[in-house]
């Protein structure tokens, strides 16, 4: 599904290259659950953003379902991204002005899904996450765990093939964190959605079937 070849990214400081990522090679199969670990500044988030097509590398190749991502036109890449990728953030990043229902619905609007179909899909998702009663609340009226559930529901609504999560439990207490991880596991096994998560926690990382350790932009360890 994902092939990264010789991915490098750097910043120029005083003429010297300061590598964020260096020579990353990575193959990710469809259906995998990958955890990326590493200390602050090791380049985990940058790697995730490159995979998520939000960022580009300075060197290397990235194939997504065989398509060379960096060679695609902006419009084509957005299309590819919209169809296949869902994003989850540490800080949830819900839209404050929209209700739970509307937050979940928004990605469908941008994909021009018809009204009736949209309604059914959102209702389905609310049902699945047990949030029917909360659909008209605004994000500020929810707990952190509930907000993250909305974030996940929003990421899943457009039926992506790949779910990217950047420290999804970072702002949650351990019990809430565990629930989210269980949910991820379930999504991975039952819905066959590929998941890549960035995490600090060994415990959370262990939910994945594969862990890579990053240090100073290089893959230190690749545990299957």
């Amino acid at each position: 599904m994902i092939q990264l070849e010789k991915i490098s990214k750097w910043y120029n400081t005083n003429g010297a290259r300061n590598f964020v990522l260096k020579d990353i090679h990575l193959d990710i199969e469809e259906g995998a659950f990958l955890s990326i670990m590493g200390p602050s500044g090791s380049g985990k988030s940058t790697l995730l953003n490159i995979i998520g097509m939000l960022d580009t590398s300075d060197e290397g190749n990235y194939r997504f379902f065989g398509e060379s991502v960096f060679d695609l036109k902006e419009k084509k890449r957005t299309e590819l991204y919209k169809k296949n990728i869902g994003y989850i953030f540490q800080a949830y990043h819900l839209i404050d002005e929209l209700t739970v229902y509307e937050n979940i619905e928004t990605p469908l609007l941008y994909q021009d899904v018809k009204g009736s179909e949209r309604k059914a899909m959102v209702a389905d998702m609310l049902d699945r996450f047990n949030m029917v009663g909360k659909k008209d609340l605004f994000p500020s009226q929810l707990s952190g765990g509930q907000q993250q559930l909305v974030g996940i529901a929003r990421a899943l609504i457009a039926k992506p093939k790949l779910l990217l999560a950047d420290e999804p439990t970072g702002n949650l207490n351990s019990k809430q964190g565990e629930e989210i991880m269980e949910l991820f596991k379930k999504i991975n096994t039952e819905d066959k959605i590929t998941i890549i998560q960035v995490t600090h926690s060994e415990k959370n990382a262990a939910y994945g079937d594969r862990i890579i350790d990053l240090l100073d932009g290089r893959i230190q360890q690749n545990i299957q």
Binding site: N49, L54, D55, T78, Y81, K82, Y87, F89, H93, L94, I95, D96, E97, L98, E102, T106, P107, L109, Y110, Q111, R154, A155, A158
Partner: protein
Amino acid sequence: MLRNYLKTAFRSLLKNKFTTAINLFGLSVGMTAAVFIFIWVQNEHSFDNYHPSNQYIYRITNTINLGTNNDTWKWETSPYNLGEFALKEIPGIKNLTRCGNVNSSHNIIYKNRIIPEKNCAYVDSNWFSVFKYDFVYGDPSAFNNNNYAVAITESKAKKYFGTANPIGNILKIDTLNYTVEAVVKDNPLNSSFQFDIMMQMGSHITQPRVAKNIHSWGNFNFPTYVLLQDNANVQKVTGMLNAIMNREREKNSANTTLQPLSTMHFETDLQSTSLPHGNRKTTYIFSVLGILLLLTACINYVNLTTAKASLRSKEVGIKKIIGAGRKHLFMQFIVESFLISIVSLLLSLLFIQLLLPVFNSITEKQFVLTLFSFTMWKILLSTLIVATILNGIYPAIMLSSFKPIEVFRGKTILKLNDAFVRKSLVVFQFSLSVILIIGSIVIFKQLKHIQNSNPGYNLSQVVSMEIPYNAYRKLNDEQQEHFFAAIRHELLNSGAVEGLTMGGDQIINVGNFSSGNVDWDGHDTAFQATVSPYSADADFQKVFQLQMKEGRWFHEGKEDEHNYILNESALRMFNMHTPVIGQRFTMGGDTGKVVGIVKDFHYQSMHEKIGALVMKYNNGYDSYIFLKAAAGKIPAALQAAATTWKKFIPSEPFEYTFMDESFDRLYKEDRKISSLVFIFSIIAVVIAALGLFGLAAFTTEIRTKEIGIRKVLGAGVQSIVFLLSKDFIKLALLAFVIASPIAWYFANKWLEDFAYRIDISWWIFAITVVLAMIITIVTVSSHAIKAAISSPVNNLRSE
């Protein structure tokens, strides 16, 4: 999707109540001013365009060559016969119509009362087939078939006959009875012909004194309009008109041309006109001002929206990540700007409704706010679209261009050039304010100058009355002398009148000029002096308190019958032998000697330079009576005047004016401009201050942390207020530097129109810059002080 845009936009506006309120208020104030201006400009530019065949209608213009100095007189009138001949002889002319005594005053005798009506005219029987009128009652054929027919407007019909159908009723106008044969809808505001009462031309041309000269080719008395055939050649018709004139007039010096009806309203070079005219340049200046005011209001929105961009960048970032394209985001911000524009427009409709009476009194028109008019919709919709675009485009482009990843990385999305754009826009707003403030002060000072400068006469307590020519035209010379002597006697004996004098014209605005008509010993006959002749009696100097430079004023009786008094300017112009007193002087063939030199006084408005005034003795009677009321006895004097009038001139209504009011009226247009510029400058300042207020609030908000740190490090309130205000003060100063020369240029241009004017002194600029500083500091410092006195603990905790 649109629903979603609207929903998000609505909630986001609701969430930022402070900014939204500033935007709404500023925009609606700007829109109100702009819509008013556009309504007026549109009306000016649509004059006479509602006649269905308007593009084929022309007015015959005659330009008379005066022979001397290449002077010409351009007249909107033609000889009556030209119409007769032209319609008969020129095949390109489909129809032709004439009017006469345009906008003349007539007295309606109604239920034993005399009611003067100002907007009357005679129109011939083709008038209603050339021009479009909507008939409420009656029809043109009845009007055409009766020499003593009158057509009146709906509101005059209501005034005299109530709501009933008035057709067939008699209306006594002056001494003649007219039958009401037609009632037409009131004239549109954009009509040059604001006639309320239209009498059949037949009744006019058959009056003996008119009939005597009606066929003379030397009398240019009738505005004549031609309706050309669709395929007629204007040049050919013009040629044929000139051919008729050359054939029929002896030594014809008139050049006859055709003026399209559609351009008639903006004609400027007519020697005189009885129709209302506009000034194309003024309409352009106001259009620009309207757009600038709208622009300045839109700048607030742009500035506040882009300033808040960093707060909204998160939202934009998320939306991009969950799949929004640039198009989606662009549309969302445009919808937001549309929403705020349309709410502002609704608010401004309310303002417009409230301010309409003020607007109407300034424009002296009767505009109504009707939502059923296509024109009104055109103006409102274009204002809305312009505002939406001005508001929306820049923020939408800027905000939709964020790279989501940079937002989350915590990079500042506010690039340097965005801040630059914002600052430039603030400078633009302030420049406009500064220009208008300087303009207001200059205009105010000039008007004050006029009021305070000594015109050379004293008008206080003086009332003037014009004795209608009709009241004495049938009397012979001796009878006339008795008539005026009796009036004088009656008024002086009332006890309320301190002085009384008669003169040939209003002393404040003498309209007579005569060229090449005067002579004196030593006169170089090649020099054709242009003078203003003025006749006055023996008490004239005393009543108006004119100052003598040399010699004496006229004596009563026959002594000064042929003698003259000159003003200082005349003396300078004529360069006569000295001593001037006693020199021979001739005007219009009447030879006498100069008995006095009067000090210059302003016998015209201060727009005009004082020219040569030649005063002649009037034998104690003339068309204007000026009476000076005794101290504290104005009501008694007016009462006496009214009683005397009724006794001697019963057929005419009693009319009088206070001279000081007439004097003020000379500067009515100037005062109108003064109040308009003042209003506009207030609007511009309020809008600019509002924008600054919002920006300052925002800047303070994002610098909260910095302020907290500085306070912890020991900064005082003063230094923090200064820190937060200095950027804005710099902008205001820059605006002042840019605006001053522009303001100076325009103020000078305006002042050039006055022969007697102030200098634009440095302190006007000093006041303005101080004013701009005060506005800036007051606006900005409320936020700055609030931030400076709040505890640093609170400020830092928020991080």
